[in-house]
Each structure stands twice: as C-alpha cells, then as structure tokens.
C-alpha cells in the first residue's frame, strides 16, 4: 500500500515535468531507509500511469545504500540493520549522509522533430 501512495507522487511529479510530452522512462534515486519494495513500486507505477502520458513508462530505480556519520567522533559507517547509535563511541547524534533519498533524478520524454515533416518535396 505504501508503494501505491508513493507511485502516485512519482506520477504527479513526472507529469508536471513532462509538460505534455509522452514519458518513456523515469530515473529515480531511492535510499534503502525509505522502506520501499522496488518490485511493488514498479507494479503500482504501472497501474497509476494507465491512461496518462506515463502509460508504459519504465521506472528505473537506483538504490542508494544508507550511510551514517557520528557527529561526536566523525566515524562513518553503513548500518546493517536499522541501528543508529555509533558503533565506535556509542553516540546518538548521527547524521544521515545517504539512504533517505526519494528523488526523481530525470525523465526521458518523446519530442516531435520540429520541422521534420514540412520540408518541401
């Protein structure tokens, strides 16, 4: 269900940037901390896109691995399970360097060839 809501948000953003052009693919960057199931997102995106300029568009998902940085000792690490305390000093003030992304990086659209069909015979 989570992915259905998120798919609708992706669709709306992609259509706004498509500005009336047909969308062939959407390139996304998704952090592993967003609890998104890639196959499920793909499935729902296919459904919400029906009847829109995104119908049939491919959803390309780049997974961004979570990276944390301890604000106390500066240690950086990649958490295996959701564990946010620094494994070095035990500090709890932790900056999320990567892993929270839910970003549309770009879209690929189809455009008319301007002037291609009006050349004189």
């Amino acid at each position: 269900m989570h992915e259905l809501s998120l798919s609708s948000a992706i669709l709306a953003t992609a259509l706004r940037h498509a500005d009336g052009r047909r969308v062939k693919s959407v390139q996304m960057r998704i952090g592993t901390m967003r609890q998104v199931v890639p196959e499920s997102l793909d499935f729902y995106f296919g459904i919400v896109g029906r009847g829109t300029l995104c119908e049939g568009a491919a959803l390309e998902q780049e997974r961004i691995v979570a990276e944390l940085r301890c604000e106390g000792c500066g240690r950086e690490w990649r958490p295996e399970i959701p564990a946010f305390r620094c494994p070095g000093c035990g500090g709890g003030e932790v900056e999320i360097v990567a892993g929270e992304e839910f970003e549309i990086d770009s879209i690929v659209v189809e455009e008319e060839e301007v002037g291609a069909c009006i050349a004189p015979r």
Binding site: M1, H2, S5, L6, A9, I10, A12, T13, A14, R16, H17, A18, R21, K24, M28, M33, R34, Q35, I81, P82, A83, F84, R85, G91, G92, E93, V94, F102, E103, I104, D105, S106, I107, V108, V109, E110, E111, E112, E113
Partner: protein, 225 residues
C-alpha cells in the same frame, strides 16, 4: 520523434511538502500548534485522546482521520471539543494515511481561531503516515505492548520521525511476555535519545504526563496574527 532526457532532481514528495508548508502558515497565523498523532490500528490513539484531552489546559480540537466511518469522531465529540472527521474513502481513494492536501481540504471546517492545539489523529498505519507531512509541529506515535518488542526495528521510518513515543497498554505488562527493556533497547537503536512515556489509556496511568506534554506543545504556538 526523438527522446530527450529532462533533468528533474526533485523529491517526489515535494508537492506534498509544499502544501504542508501552506498548512503550517495557516496554523501559525491562527496561533495553533499541531500534533500529528500516529500508530498502528488498535494501538489506542482514540482512547488516549479521550483520557487526556478532557482536562487539557488548552483549547484543543481534533481532526480525525479514518478510511471510513465516524466512530472515533463520535467518541471524541462526547468531550465537547471541535472534532472534524476526515474520511479518505470518498474523494481520496481510500488512502491509508492523511496527506497535506487532505488536511488542507478540512481546514475550513475547523475553528482554528478558537484553538491553541490541533491534534490530527492519523489513519492507523505504521508505514505511509510517516512519509507525508501535513504541516504539524510535532509527531507523536503510540506503540502498544501487544504489538511486540520488534516494532521499532520493523518500522524505523515511523519511529525515527517522531519526537515522542507513548508505550500504551502497560496495564497488561504482567499478563504478557512483552520484554519492555528489549523494546526500549530497540527503540534507542533506531532513534537514540527519543522521549518515551509508559501509559495505560484504560487505567489512565501515565496519561497525566502526556497531558502536560501536550500543554507544552500548545504553549509553543506563536500568538495569532
């Protein structure tokens, strides 16, 4: 026809965030603090509100989010507070959470100028509500001990996004195998240092502290413009 790559570089939830910011501005203008109140279904959100809002020393209203029906709003209406029911079924596709736009659609029904605090009781769900800001000042979640010790590890986004966790149904501690220390350990692993309170909506134990906390949030609001 040819293909063009268009750079977007935008969070897919930016549209929601923009509306949440507009909600926030409206709340600020009326001097209302807003709490987004979240949990799994059946964790005890409504009962906790019944227990705490009655004697709260602030003018409080409730926006009640549910997929269907008005059972919770009907219960809270007995407290003689302004309560507005927001159903996600008609008009919003039966969504499993409230988003900023849904909350915005209900603002006209709320007497914001008469409130210090608005509690938005979200749809029961530990996943989607965490993703959608609605214009709140604070996020509070309820995790009841019948749900088990592992919930922070399974739903880290929800537990990380809140600033207070109410651990409810503690009147059942002696009857269950729930390991409170393990739950607190998991909670701290996911959200180091997060504030928590042990409460029982049934007996009222611990709800006084939550009532005081809410009064503190209500006092945070800027004076109405």
């Amino acid at each position: 026809m040819h293909r063009t790559q268009v750079k977007v570089a935008e969070d897919a939830l930016d549209a929601n965030t923009t509306i949440a910011t507009a909600n926030r501005a409206d709340f600020d203008r009326h001097g209302v603090s807003v709490v987004n109140f979240m949990s799994a279904p059946g964790a005890g959100k409504t009962t906790l509100l019944e227990r705490t809002l009655d004697e709260l020393e602030a003018r409080v209203g409730v926006l009640e989010g549910d997929v269907q029906g008005s059972a919770d709003a009907d219960r809270l209406s007995a407290l003689h507070l302004p309560v507005v029911q927001l159903n996600t079924d008609p008009g919003f596709g039966g969504e499993c959470h409230l988003d900023a736009n849904m909350v915005r659609s209900a603002l006209g029904d709320l007497p914001l100028e008469e409130l210090d605090l608005l509690v938005i009781e979200n749809v029961g769900n530990l996943v989607c509500p965490a993703e959608f800001k609605v214009g709140e000042d604070a996020r509070v979640m309820v995790s009841s001990i019948t749900e088990g010790e592992d919930k922070p590890l399974k739903y880290p986004l929800m537990f990380r996004t809140c600033e207070l966790v109410l651990i409810n149904k503690i009147d059942l501690l002696e009857h269950l195998d729930f390991d409170l220390d393990l739950f607190l350990y998991n909670l701290d692993a996911v959200h180091p240092g997060i504030e928590h309170m042990l409460v029982s909506a049934r007996t009222g134990e611990g709800t006084g502290a939550f009532r005081e906390w809410l009064a503190g949030i209500a006092a945070r609001a800027p004076a109405a413009a």
